[in-house]
Structures are given as C-alpha cells and as structure tokens.
Amino acid sequence: MPHFSNKKLILLLVSMIFIVALISFSLRDRQNATLPEQFIKDTVGLAQGFVAKPANYITGIFNDINSLLNTYEENKRLKMRLEDFAALQSEVNTLKSENTSLRDIVDKESSLREYVPIQATVIARNPDQWEEKIILDKGSSSGVELNMAVMTAKGLIGKISLVTPLTSEVELIQTNNPNFRVSAVIQSENEEIFGLIEGFDVDRNELIMKRIDSSLDVKEGELVISSGLGGIFPKGILIGEVTEITTDDFGLTKMAYIKPAADFSLLQDVMIAKRTVITIDEHEDIKNEQTEENQNVGE
C-alpha cells in the first residue's frame, strides 16, 4: 500500500480542489476559448490536419471501391430519374429567372437564402463520443464565426460552437443540448408549416420537431428545410424528412419525427454557411441568456 506523508496528503487535497474548480470553470464558460486553450487547440489541430488528410484519402479510396461495386444498380436507378431531372431543371431555370425579375421589380436585393460557403475538412471527431462534436480545419482567420450553420452536400449537420484562429468545433444536431434549436419549415404541398427542431431521439435516431400548429396538416415524407428566421442559419438548407407525426406532451401543438438527410457516420468535407444578410448578434446573446435563465429556473 502506498504510504502517505502529511505533505503528500495536503498536495493531493489541494490538487483535487484545483481540478474540481477547473472542471466547473470549463463547464460554465463554453462559448469562448481562453488564450492558452486556443494555442493548444491550434497546435494540436495543425498536427491533426497532417494525420487526417492521408487518412481521409485512404477512406476515400475505400468509399470509391464500395461505390464502384454498386455501380450497376445505381446506374439503373439514376437513368430512371434522369428523365424527371431534365423536366425539373427547366422548371428550376424558369423559376429562377422569374425570381430575379420579381426581385428587381420590388428592389429587394438581399435574401435570407443567400450565403457564402466556406469549404472545410473534418480533422477529428470527439473520440469519446459522449458529446456529438467534430473539429474542422478552418477557423476565425478564414472568416468562420460562432453559430454558423454547417452542412454536407446532403443536408444540415450542425452549427459552429467554438472558434479558434485555425480550428473550429461543430456541435452536431444530434446533440442532447436543450438549447440547440433550429427554426425549420415543413414544405407541405401548398403552404409552409413552421416549427422548431429541438432535441434528438436516441432510440429512433431521429430529430424531434416541436411547436407545429395543430390545425395544419402535416404528412409523412414531406421535406423539412431551415427557415432562416432564427437569425443564424440561411434559408433553404435541407434538414430531413418527416417520418411520424404525433401530438406533443400537452396536446396543444403537433410534434414530428424527422429523419436527418445528412449521413453522420463518415463526415469528411463539409461546408460552413456564412449568411450574407446582416444579423444582430446582441439579440442572439440576449436570447441565449434568457434560455439559460429559464433552464436555471427549471432546475
């Protein structure tokens, strides 16, 4: 058995208190990184980038082989959809030109839909996957800011939760964090149905969309996109597809389960959406504080 002298015991106690203080400090302030933290993050991020690039290349080869094996099946399926696609393309073109001409008429230049994409590579995923989080190789020096939307070609995956000069962290939408909300729209046949995506059902592997007006009729299979009204995300990013509709706990509004469009298991290249419409950040901060206060009251 190890023998403790008085001096060692005091050292042990002091370091324990210090550690507990550190943990509680880092749990409270999670929006900004301190200077030494930023330094460590950038250095490790740089080294991580060197390892991640060849690793991504190798997994890319495996993916290519995998898709090569499915080529025949896929080709058949794609050929069937190609005819629809041509018709759709012409429709989109006419709608686009109509949209720009209408915009010219009303003198409205900016749109919630517009954003500047920043390409980024995933260099790491939080290895102990308790918090759903990935780390990207672009930081504030590339123009990345807090709360920006992050997506793949398939759809929305999360938002930026922490930025250092050379790296940034993404909180995925599968998170348990109750403050993570996305203002979303269900694209119904003839109207847009608004709601809030908040929460993730671990058992079903699906997102939960709440606060849908109960008088509106939502059908399964309808697509869900971001509404752009939350002040951070641009409009029109695909989120997923409705799989089930129920009433929520109080029976006042509807609740929908949404199957995410993006594939979360092998993330490599992502896009950070920098919205071009100016947003008022202070407002966002106030909202965050309010939700925090609400949470405290709830506890």
Binding site: I19, V44, G45, Q129
Partner: protein
C-alpha cells in the same frame, strides 16, 4: 538514439490516430447504433506503466490527458485526472501480478472498462447523457472493449517489443 524517442513518439501518433478512427463510429449493427471508442493511447500508457516506468507513464498521462481535454472534450481536468490515475493503478499491480502479455492485455482492458464506467457516471451527472446503464453497456461499453481488444491483439506485442528495446538500451547505458 532513435529508440530513446520512440516511446513518446508512439504516444503522439496514437493520440493523433484516435480521433481519425473515431470518424468510423457510430456503426449500425442489426438496427442498433453501436459506438466504438478508440482508447489506443491509454492502452499504450498502461503498457508503458507496467513494462517500463510508472512515473514516466503518469507524466505522459498528465500531458496527454490535458491535451485531450483541451482539444476534444472542453472540460479541462477530466482526462487529466483519469489518465494518470489509470497509469498509477496499472503500475501498482506490477508487484502482485505476473507480467505476461496475455495478462497485461486483460488487465488493460479491465482498466479501460473501469475508465469508461467512471466517464459514463460523470457525463450522467452533468446531464450530457440520459441513457440508462443497460443501454450504455450494450451500445458503448461492450463494443468498445471488443474493438480495443482487437487493437491490442494486433499491436500489443509491438508495444511490448518497443518498450523492451528501450529498457535494454537504458540498462546498457547505465553499465
């Protein structure tokens, strides 16, 4: 000369490889999502602690634990404590347990399982997770242990060989 730096170098490489392997997880097995957590670094540090030097392993544990906390977890002090603690426990068993490769492998897996359970209760405590213990067992603990067992079966003897090379070299330097 090179052998001298091989031990810390291996630790750095394993540290950087962990998140790359984490990108493959979670996987869907029989309609159940399974999380595989790579724990390469701590397994290696346990080996260092048992075959080489307890003190050295604890120091590495503190350094890499701190890096791990700052870069991935954002809760400073969690792995910074757990890594050296695990190394300390591993180093203390040397006196009681025979140092055969099989036994060391088994022991490291038990220690990693212990660490996972402590982490689970920590994250449950701070409300990062709400899953019950049985789910944690099925979707995280058992798959993680199996994955890391595979890793150790493949590379455990390399670790032992590497560390023995360093031990021999040091013995030669001292004489």
């Amino acid at each position: 000369m090179i052998v001298r730096f091989l031990i810390p170098l291996t630790a750095i490489v394993l540290f950087l490889l962990e998140p790359v392997f984490a990108l493959f997880s979670p996987i869907n097995l029989n309609e159940q999502t399974v999380f595989l957590v790579p724990r390469f670094l701590i397994l290696y540090l346990i080996f260092v602690s048992i075959y080489y030097s307890r003190k050295r392993a604890v120091v590495y544990g503190i350094i890499f634990g701190l890096l791990y906390d700052v870069f991935y977890i954002d809760i400073i002090g969690l792995y910074t404590v757990l890594y050296p603690l695990i190394c300390l426990i591993a180093g203390s068993t040397v006196k009681f347990i025979h140092q055969h490769l099989m036994i060391t492998t088994l022991l490291s897996l038990i220690l990693v399982a212990l660490m996972e359970i402590v982490l689970y209760y920590f994250f449950l405590f701070i409300n990062f997770t709400t899953i019950p213990f049985s789910d944690f067992m099925m979707t995280r603990l058992i798959p993680t242990i199996i994955a890391n067992l595979l890793f150790l079966v493949m590379l455990g003897w390399v670790f032992k060989y590497l560390i023995n090379a360093r031990v021999l070299q040091r013995a030669r330097e001292n004489t």
